[in-house]
C-alpha cells in the first residue's frame, strides 16, 4: 500500500440517509464504493476544491467539496485516521483540511451561510446542519419574513431514513441585515 489509505465502514451521508461503504484515498483523489456494490463516488484530486474535518458523535466526518460545488460527507474516521489523512492530503494534494465544529446546543437561532451548493445553519460559528441546494425543489417567500425550502422527495432505493425532511422554513426578522434586498436567497 505505497499509495494511499483504505478505510472500511465509511458511510456516505446525504439526502435519503447514509450508506455504508469503503473509502480509498490515494494520490489521485478519493473513491468511495457502496457496500455490496451499486453507488460509487469518485473525486479526482484536481476536482477537489476543499476538505473539512468535523467531530460528530463518537466519530469523525470528512467533507470533500468538489469544484462543481458539491459536497460529499464521509463518516466513520477514528481520531488517528484524521491526523494521518490530514498529513496525506497536505503532501499528496497540497490541501490542508479545514476544521469545523458541530453545534449541539439545540438552539433554533443562528446564521445562514451559503457556500457553493451548501446552505449551512450556524449557531455561534458552529455548524448545526447543512443541506444541499441541489436537493431543494422549490423556495417560497412566505409573508415578508419567512423563507420556505421544499426538498425533492427521494423515493430511490438508496433512501434508508424513516423520516424524511420535506420542508424547512427560516424566519428572518426585520432586524436582520444579512439578506436585505435579496428575495431569492434565504
Amino acid at each position: 500500500m505505497a499509495d494511499g489509505h483504505l478505510f472500511n465502514n465509511i458511510s456516505l451521508g446525504g439526502r435519503g440517509g447514509t450508506n455504508p461503504g469503503q473509502l480509498r484515498v490515494h494520490s489521485g483523489g478519493i473513491v468511495w464504493k457502496k457496500q455490496g456494490g451499486g453507488k460509487a463516488v469518485e473525486v479526482d484530486k484536481a476536482d477537489i476544491s476543499g476538505l473539512t474535518w468535523m467531530k460528530v458523535p463518537r466519530t469523525n466526518q470528512l467533507g470533500v467539496i468538489s469544484k462543481e460545488g458539491l459536497k460529499y460527507k464521509f463518516t466513520g474516521f477514528r481520531d488517528q485516521d484524521v491526523s494521518s489523512l490530514t498529513t496525506f492530503f497536505q503532501t499528496a494534494c497540497g490541501i490542508t483540511p479545514e476544521e469545523k465544529q458541530l453545534s449541539v446546543s439545540g438552539k433554533n437561532w443562528g446564521e445562514v451561510d451559503l457556500n457553493g451548493n451548501m446552505l449551512s445553519f450556524l449557531v455561534g460559528s458552529k455548524q448545526a446542519f447543512e443541506v444541499s441546494l441541489a436537493d431543494v425543489s422549490q423556495t417560497q417567500l412566505q409573508g415578508k419574513n419567512d423563507v420556505m425550502l421544499e426538498f425533492h422527495v427521494d423515493d430511490t432505493t438508496g433512501a434508508n431514513e424513516k423520516d424524511s425532511l420535506m420542508e424547512i422554513s427560516f424566519h428572518i426578522p426585520n432586524s436582520n441585515t444579512q439578506f436585505v434586498g435579496d428575495e431569492n436567497c434565504p
Binding site: 458523535p57 449541539v104 433554533n108 437561532w109 443562528g110 424513516k162 424524511s164 427560516f170 424566519h171
Partner: protein, 138 residues
Amino acid sequence: GTMDNRGAMKGSGDLNAYKNINDLPTPRDLMIQVDQKHEAILLPVHGSMVPFHIATVKSVTSQQDTNRTCYIRIIFNVPGTPFNPYDSNSLKYQGSIYIKEASFRSRDPRHSSEIVQQIKTLRRQVTSRESERAERAT
C-alpha cells in the same frame, strides 16, 4: 432589578441541550427521536441527527394521508411568539435567523404518532416546570 435581568439572560443564553458532542445518543435509524434526559428532540437532516432543545419547540402535529403516509410538522418559537419563557431575551439575538418550521414525511405511522405524543409530553413537562420556576422567582 439586576437579579431579574440575570435570570432572564440565563433562560435564553444558557439554552444548551448538550454540552459535549458525545452526549448525543448513538445514531441509530435516521428518524425523529426524543432525548428525555437532555430535553431535546433530534431531527434527521441530510444524513445527520440535529438536536433542538424542547424549549425551542412551539408545537407539533401529525397528519396521515390516504396512502398511510404520515407527515410530522414541527413549529419552532420565533420572535413575536406569545408566551415563550426562553424568548424573553430575544432582543439580544435580533440579528439572528430562526428555524421556524420543519416538516417530515414518515414511513411508519406508529412511530409517527408515538413521537408526536412524546414531543408533546416533554414540551408540557418542561414548560410547566419553567413557568413554576418563573412564578417562584417573582
